[in-house]
């Protein structure tokens, strides 16, 4: 068990409250970019089929680089970052720490990602790792 913990794997990581002042990291696939402006579109703010919320990584237990390395194709993904308090200010969005055995930082943003929510997410995200660096 000690070896597993050292490797970031724990059978039951404790669920914690995420403070407003902390940050969340998230993958952003290159195909969401508008070629005209170079900006990401709001479609990247979505809940994957079969999941309860939008997957993110809590900054307390993950860096942007660590999350980037977890992507299926890191070269196709940037990493964006959002302040938890600003996420919670978007209507109906709930931030929950949901650690996985091999991913203590895993968190989800529950709540429908409707047109209003996605428009507001566009205002609060920043780039933590841009695509050019991700491609290297």
């Amino acid at each position: 068990m000690a070896a597993n913990v050292a490797n970031g794997i724990g059978p039951n990581w404790p669920v914690e409250d995420i403070p407003d002042e902390d940050r969340l990291y998230m993958w952003a696939h290159r195909n969401y970019i508008d070629p005209k402006t170079g900006d990401f579109g709001p479609g990247m703010f979505r809940i994957r089929s079969g999941e309860d919320g939008m997957s993110t990584a809590w900054s307390k237990y993950s860096t942007a680089e660590q999350l980037h390395r977890r992507a299926k194709k890191p070269q196709d993904n940037a990493i964006i970052v959002m302040r938890v308090g600003e996420v919670r200010a978007i209507p109906n969005q709930v931030v929950r720490h949901k650690p996985l055995p091999d991913h203590q930082a895993h968190s989800e943003i529950e709540g429908e990602k409707d047109t209003e929510a996605r428009a507001k997410y566009l205002e609060i995200y920043q780039i933590a790792i841009p695509l050019l660096e991700a491609a290297q």
Binding site: W27, H29, N31, Y32, I33, D34, P35, K36, T37, D39, F40, G41, P42, G43, R46, R48, S49, A71, K72, K73, D76, K113, D114, T115, E116, R118, A119, L122, E123
Partner: protein, 175 residues
């Protein structure tokens, strides 16, 4: 009107790779891009002065890149995009913009057109401290949804029928 145009063009345009067909007031060009050019041609008929929407047309044409994505295009299970959704998005934009520009000597910037969730299209403007996001769903029976706000805290949001052009949304965006 856009809905009638779509149905008519679908009936006629698939028979040949290149065709010329001259009914009363319009003709087909080539199949590739033909739909867009013909919708623009029909919408512009009789308009004086003719508004310059070449930048809008270019943005719409470039959005066709999304039709090549295929399923799981983001490595996270997102579904691909269909010609039908692209046509509805194109017709919506042209309806709104050409109707808005009628009789006005102003222009409007082209929006960003990007992949939306579940096979939908996102159309997004950011102008003069205002932003407006319109989502065109994959389901042709579902209404489009929109959200807009400005620095003063004014908000517009709701659903709309993309087959009928209403100027008020672009009027709000550009005032």
């Amino acid at each position: 009107m856009a809905d009638k145009i779509t149905r008519y063009l679908r009936q006629e345009r698939w028979s040949q790779e290149e065709s010329t067909y001259q009914p009363e007031s319009y003709k087909f060009i080539k199949k590739e891009g033909g739909y867009l050019e013909n919708v623009i041609h029909i919408k512009m008929l009789g308009l004086k002065p003719t508004p310059d929407i070449s930048h809008i047309r270019d943005a719409i044409q470039q959005s066709r890149r999304m039709l090549e994505f295929g399923d799981d295009w983001d490595d996270e299970g997102s579904v691909g995009y269909t010609e039908a959704v692209w046509e509805r998005s194109s017709a919506f934009l042209l309806n709104y913009i050409v109707d808005f520009l009628k009789g006005r000597s102003i222009s409007i910037e082209a929006p960003s057109i990007t992949p939306g969730p579940d096979g939908s299209f996102d159309i997004y403007w950011r102008l003069n401290g205002r932003k407006l996001l319109v989502n065109i769903p994959a389901d042709e029976n579902a209404s489009a949804t929109f959200y807009g706000d400005n620095r003063d805290g004014d908000v517009v949001k709701g659903s709309l029928n993309t087959a009928t052009g209403k100027q008020w949304l672009l009027t709000w965006l550009t005032e």
